[in-house]
């Protein structure tokens, strides 16, 4: 898999890394994107979608009220946001099993809501603001691991 970044990234570097990841990921793959509000999860999801072949990744948006968006891409790509769901039961009721069956690449924001449902191995990416003394609010740190 693509090597994780070695230091904080600005938005364009984050997008470039995301695009490279989207192209390099094996299929099928599940990518869990966590981090505080505004950390850049949707920006990264959009970049991964671009790299994975979604024709117009502007359609990959922060899905307020939407739980699942499925986009045309080779093998299918689903963008799932669990922010507003209470628990794993609500995720299953939204058709989680079908999402995994239909899509070779599944991007999950707020995976903490249903971590037990994520098929292992999956790629966990946590975005965060850099720790002091780095004070630039436009930079983001990425912590990447494969959870088995």
């Amino acid at each position: 898999m693509l090597a994780p970044p070695t230091g904080p990234l600005d938005e364009s570097a984050l997008a470039a890394w995301g695009r490279a990841l989207g192209a390099a990921l094996p299929r099928p793959a599940v990518v869990a994107l966590s981090g505080p509000l505004g950390a850049g999860k949707t920006t990264l999801a959009r970049a991964i979608a671009t790299g994975a072949g979604v024709p117009d990744a502007r359609d990959v948006t922060s899905p307020t009220y939407a739980i699942v968006h499925e986009h045309a891409a080779p093998g299918g790509l689903a963008h799932v946001d669990l922010y507003r769901l209470a628990d794993a039961g609500a995720v299953l009721a939204a058709g989680w099993d079908g999402v995994l069956e239909r899509n070779a690449l599944v991007l999950v924001e707020w995976p903490e809501r249903a971590e037990a449902l994520l098929p292992r191995p999956y790629v966990q990416i946590r975005l965060d603001y850099p720790a002091p003394p780095v004070a630039d609010p436009t930079l983001r740190c990425l912590f990447v691991e494969v959870r088995r």
Partner: protein
Amino acid sequence: MTGPAWPGRTLALDGAGAHITVARFDDGQLAAAAVAERGQGPGAGAAEALPAIVRSVLGGDGRLDRVIVGAGPGSFTGLRAAGALAKGMAHALDVPLLEVPSLALAAAGAAMRGEVPPTGRVLVLLDALRGEWFRQEVALVDGDVVEVSAVRRVGWPPEWAGPVVGGPEAPARPEARHAERCRAVAREVALREWAPDYGRQAEAEVQWLARQAAGTGAGA
């Protein structure tokens, strides 16, 4: 399949179930789809967010050749939000609006997932609240819906010996992504007159009338 696919770009919406679902088909092939929260009450649900969700599913230049809408019965809130948007889009874009039975969408999905046989008659049940169920028989051939019965509201348990979709343990899931499977029972409707089949009064109205009857309502 039952005849040729819908040509061009087709948008489908349904709000009868626990979620509002949206799908786009390009020459009959599913191109994009979304599942959105239904919410309850003004300001608390998908009615406000649905246009943006539909926009992202439409993609491209937003051109459409027809709009398909789940006709119900089911969730008052979901059917109203999805129905209003579908009708408004058909009006604005000057394209046909076709309705499909929402319970037929659920049957087609269950057949696709292998939960019921792809050919034969199934009974679809959707919670109508207050101990009642919407009941519709659906005939399937190779996963396509070819015929539906009239919808009735019945108690529990329903009288039926064959395969069942939905019920208390596994709620039926009408999903717009199965609209292509329901072409044989789709019906073009008159835009001015069309409204979803809510199947029952809105729950808020039921509760309001009950309060009035009990003499505890506002103004009583």
